[in-house]
């Protein structure tokens, strides 16, 4: 029991893989991007055969008779299919003057960074040598090594 506890921390430092700053930053960015996702599961309709899409839907059957005047040409349609990033680039804000979407973003906080255990969420005092994640006790470090540390989850 005692031996096992020690094993978590006292691995030979030379054998341990240590992530560099750029990689750590990339992982953080990925984590933050994941927090912007609408869904984590696949579209439940994605696995359906294409044919299913053409089946009449009850709510549409009575509408299709008199469709409103359509103003959507090809050009129109294309303009309606841009994602956020494309629209942002199109605005060309970095060269424009005055306050805009980019300048309105809040500045970095002047308060000191606070640290929380990546496993249990309580305040933490220690940093994982390999990946830079925070942990609060040996038990959490063990969990961290087993589940996340150098494994590319989430």
């Amino acid at each position: 029991m005692v031996e096992k506890k020690i094993a978590v921390r006292s691995q030979d430092a030379n054998q341990r893989r240590v992530l560099d700053r750029a990689t750590r930053q990339r992982r953080l960015t990925r984590q933050l991007d994941a927090l912007e996702k609408d869904n984590f599961q696949d579209d439940p309709h994605a696995s359906l055969p294409q044919l299913a899409k053409r089946l009449p839907q009850f709510d549409e059957s009575n509408e299709s008779g008199k469709k409103r005047k359509k103003t959507r040409g090809d050009h129109f349609k294309q303009r309606f299919r841009k994602n956020f990033q494309a629209l942002l680039e199109e605005e060309n804000l970095s060269v424009s003057e005055g306050p805009n979407y980019l300048t309105a973003c809040a500045e970095p906080s002047k308060l000191p960074q606070r640290h929380f255990c990546a496993v249990c969420g309580f305040p933490s005092n220690y940093t994982c040598v390999s990946c830079g994640a925070r942990y609060c006790c040996v038990r959490c470090l063990g969990t961290h090594h087993e589940t996340r540390c150098l494994k590319w989850t989430v």
């Binding site: 953080l28 984590q31 933050l32 994941a34 927090l35 912007e36 996702k37 609408d38 869904n39 984590f40 599961q41 579209d43 439940p44 309709h45 359906l48 299913a52 089946l55 839907q57 709510d59 409103r68 005047k69 103003t71 129109f76 303009r79 309606f80 841009k82 994602n83 956020f84 629209l87 942002l88 199109e90 605005e91 005055g98 306050p99 805009n100 979407y101 309105a104 973003c105 809040a106 500045e107 970095p108 906080s109 002047k110 308060l111 960074q113 606070r114 929380f116 496993v119 249990c120 969420g121 309580f122 305040p123 589940t147 996340r148 989430v154």
Partner: protein
Amino acid sequence: MTTLVLDNGAYTAKIGYSHEKVSVIPNCQFRSKTSRLKTFTASQLDEIKDPSGLFYILPFQKGYLVNWDVQRKVWDHLFGKEMFKVDFSDTSIVITEPYFNFTSIQESMNEILFEEYQFQAALRINAGSLSAHRYFQENSSELCCIVVDSGFSFTHIVPYCRGKKMKDGICRINVGGKLLTNHLKEIISYRQLHVMDETYVINQVKEDVCYVSQDFYKDMEIAQLKGEENTVMRDYVLPDFSAIKKGFCKPREEMNFTGKYKTGEQILRLTNERFAVPEMIFHPSDIGIQEMGIPEALVNSVNNLPEEMQPHFFKNIVLTGGNTLFPGFRDRVYKEVRSLTPTDFDVSVVQPHNPICYSWEGGKLLSENPDFDEMVVTREDYEENGHYICEEKFDI
């Protein structure tokens, strides 16, 4: 002529005729595992009996309208005979859009409102401007106010002086309700139960149990205690959508501190998650978003404005948006802004009775304003002058 007011949020649309009440309706489409052929639009959410694993199709990305196909479907549903039965030949619309909206989105919006739906007149405006309008109507002696709008996609802090927004003071924090729900999902999935697919359920958990801590590190200590002493801990009973239609918190007296219940229901045990999640709005840097939290950003924004106006902003802070409904939100904002401002300034933080619909109510008031007809762009105007006239008239 009737006026339809639509606060077109990224998560819910707040919609209603100016002479009627407001309805809050999901501004998105859904797909469910159980009904595999149908896509549900907006209020059809109620038809889904088992919303586990509910799949969202949202028209907004990062707070900006990008998916027009979805938005059109939702609007068709809202304006159509199932809901508001809009008579376009006799209706004007007041519709909201985000700060610094992109030009192409604005033009698409003009085209759809005037050419496709054929509204007789339209006013595009920021939701915060409607909130400020409402605030100034109720507090007519005040010259300035600063609106904190914390919604689904992000949080904006916007100073208004005599009804005009002060663009230089606008500040955006990229933390909103969506991020909070996703973060809660992530930590619950890592710590106890895989719920990554359950956005709908976990959003409900967030609304039911999360709160804003008044003393963060003290609550952290309490949350670490064992048994009865841990007054933060809650056991949340998850819905199974047959016997239990909606999740709920186990009453404290029924709580079993060993965490083992004889009844078969699924339990989530929540401790520091309850307040660490809303804490993101106050300290985005806790999860690595290097931005100021609300109080710091608010004080920073005001300090960059003309000195003689500053005291007026501090005593007119208005909180709107769904996130402000977390218990303790107002008190925390007050406490931190108070401690960051000189003592000779008054600080007052107002939380409206219904912070979600506050801007809609502002839109209703605005449509009754005698100047309203001057502010809108009519369809003839638009047909004569195109996008130019909208750009001229709308203060966006």
